[in-house]
Symmetry: C2
Subunit: 351 residues, 2 copies
DNA sequence: TTGTACGCGTTATCAA
DNA sequence: TTGATAACGCGTACAA
């Protein structure tokens, strides 16, 4: 006398128990269409009796042609991708525009051939978060599915809505400030150049082989002011990485050591400052440090970082709105955001 | 002469073009079943000609009864939930066990009635991340769907696999250390007590009304050593919140001010230390600080925090494994993890 | 090795 | 206001 398995009841079962047709029962749950109070009550009763959870999402998706899911394609391991405050802000913005509208966000860590199969994940649209590397391949796989695609800071691609940032121009403005302060020996601490994310000195070969769009753009902006600037590419956007890069750049002969460092993120910049302090190099008197992002650095440093503030949440919102517009049948256009230079206490005239 | 719309081709269309039946074409894409090289090639060709992206995920899900999606139910706004390093570590662990197996993670921010509809999201199983509040209601909605449920640090619930932590016992061990060091005036800085997340002094009313399981357990552990300990509940797990709480607790008369503070997270503890330093209170000589979590505090503080190290990634992995086991037809059992006290440089004998 | 038949659980359309 | 019918796009017995 074993308890019978209790399989998921179907709409048909509920309808049968209520003594109505499946289509009528469907109306009760979807709310679309006129149903008499009496039958509505009977159907609800039957549903309760069977412990019916409502229409099966998969069947509904198939029938309606919509899943209510938006894919968010990230390049990294999951935790890694979301350790970047900028991506978190983006997620917040996306959430405001999408999750609050009832969409779920399907996070798809995708690095090249590994990871989730982009062509098999159920979704109505996709947002590409940090996929500048190998972007083309993932876009290709997704475009075949005829779903709207939104890419954050990626090279322009036909049929893909871009949410862009003035990475080169903004960095150029920051570099110009340093130049005006008299700096000549300037070094770079960049974001990872590619999927490998290995820390190491910038070389023409490594830069050429790099696939990270944002990093490359910011390098370009810096070089437009300091043409031959060298530096180090970090293995991630973190205080620890900035610290390591800072030690490497600042450990040498004081006469030749850089008087300013352009870091490609605020976390990297904070790490550089930490390294400088450890080495007894005063910021900003002996070393100016420029960041990028404009995030809050609670507790990490007491300096007010000079940095390029980017509208990260706005970028997420714009991406979310683009998705909604596309799903509504519209043809959203790309958006370009601009960063603003916020001068803090980490930049000063060259010593 | 407008370009005709290019609708998503179906498997049937591909089959037709290739001159085979739909079922044969299906075999080509699923790989299951023997197909001659010749027909396989013809089907692939037809698919290429039509720019076919592969079987429709939704239809496939309906037919197979699996979506390949695991829901991750979070309590907060998205960015907020992932700003907690512990949740990030959990996500990493989950990713290792699930994303690497091809599952996508569907992030569902759910706070009470608002947010995504849990009964409408397509998923094969769900992991409840920080849903101790209002847990019962979300579990109810999900259990009707007959999908496996895994809850991280939640009150035991029938039919839900628990991934638990010794929050009370671990805190008790930390508190015991403080007691042995001679501390008597001890204050708490707790995680948010409920969904409201308002910062404020602990009162019996607020504690009773609180719904956050982890916070309550850790309070319980602390009180088992210091029965009447009061304190402040933070509005989140961040350095800034810890800082604010620290200022409030330490600003008073030195003769009555606490000599030790038990913070319920490392970020809160770091904030408390910052506040103490601002007030000229030396850590650990004049104030001992205890954290919880055992995360890396790169750059935030130079102290080595005395804290309770919890195996966060392991928790995520365990949750992922439980999901896989349940999906494979097994009956995974709950797992209880233990934290270990790591004594650093932020605790010392009471002054 | 290939094709036929059927159903997965819904919802849209239309007629009653 | 309700019900019958037909898809949605695919996978899987089973038969050929």
């Amino acid at each position: 006398m074993s308890e019978p398995a209790n399989p998921r009841p179907t709409l048909a079962a509920v309808a049968a128990l209520a003594g109505v047709s499946a289509s009528t029962a469907s109306l009760v749950f979807s709310g679309a269409g006129p149903v008499s109070e009496a039958t509505r009550a009977r159907v609800r009763e039957a549903a309760a009796a069977l412990d019916y959870a409502g229409p099966d999402p998969t069947a509904r998706s198939l029938r309606r042609g919509r899943t209510g899911v938006i894919g968010v394609v990230t390049e990294d391991r999951l935790g890694e991708a979301f350790r970047d405050p900028i991506n978190l802000a983006l997620l917040d913005g996306l959430g405001e525009e999408l999750a609050d509208e009832g969409y779920g966000l399907l996070v798809l860590p995708w690095s090249g051939p590994a990871g989730v199969d982009l062509s098999a994940a159920p979704m109505d649209a996709a947002v590409l978060l940090g996929c500048s590397a190998d972007l083309a391949r993932s876009v290709e796989a997704l475009q075949r599915r005829r779903i709207p695609l939104v890419a954050i800071e990626a090279p322009a691609l036909p049929g893909v809505v871009g949410i862009d940032l003035d990475n080169a121009e903004a960095t150029r403005r920051g570099a110009t400030l340093l130049r005006e302060l008299g700096h000549e020996r300037v070094a770079l601490v960049t974001l990872p150049l590619d999927l490998d994310r290995t820390r190491g000195p910038l070389t023409p070969e490594r830069e050429a082989a790099g696939s990270a769009f944002t990093a490359a753009e910011r390098i370009r902006g810096a070089r437009s002011v300091f043409p031959d600037t060298a530096g180090i590419s970090a293995a991630g956007s973190s205080v620890a990485e900035g610290h390591a890069a800072g030690l490497a750049l600042l450990g040498g002969d004081p006469a030749h050591r850089p008087t300013a460092i352009i870091a490609q993120s605020d976390l990297l910049a904070a790490g550089v400052i930490l390294a400088a302090e450890e080495l007894g190099i005063a910021v900003p008197d002996q070393l100016s440090v420029l960041g990028f992002d404009g995030i809050r650095l609670d507790g990490i440093t007491t300096h007010r970082l000079t940095t390029l503030v980017q509208p990260a949440i706005e970028k997420g919102r714009a991406a979310g709105r683009a998705v909604r517009e596309a799903l509504a049948g519209g043809a959203p256009s790309s958006v370009a955001f601009v960063s603003s230079l916020r001068v803090g206490t980490t930049t000063a005239p060259a010593p």
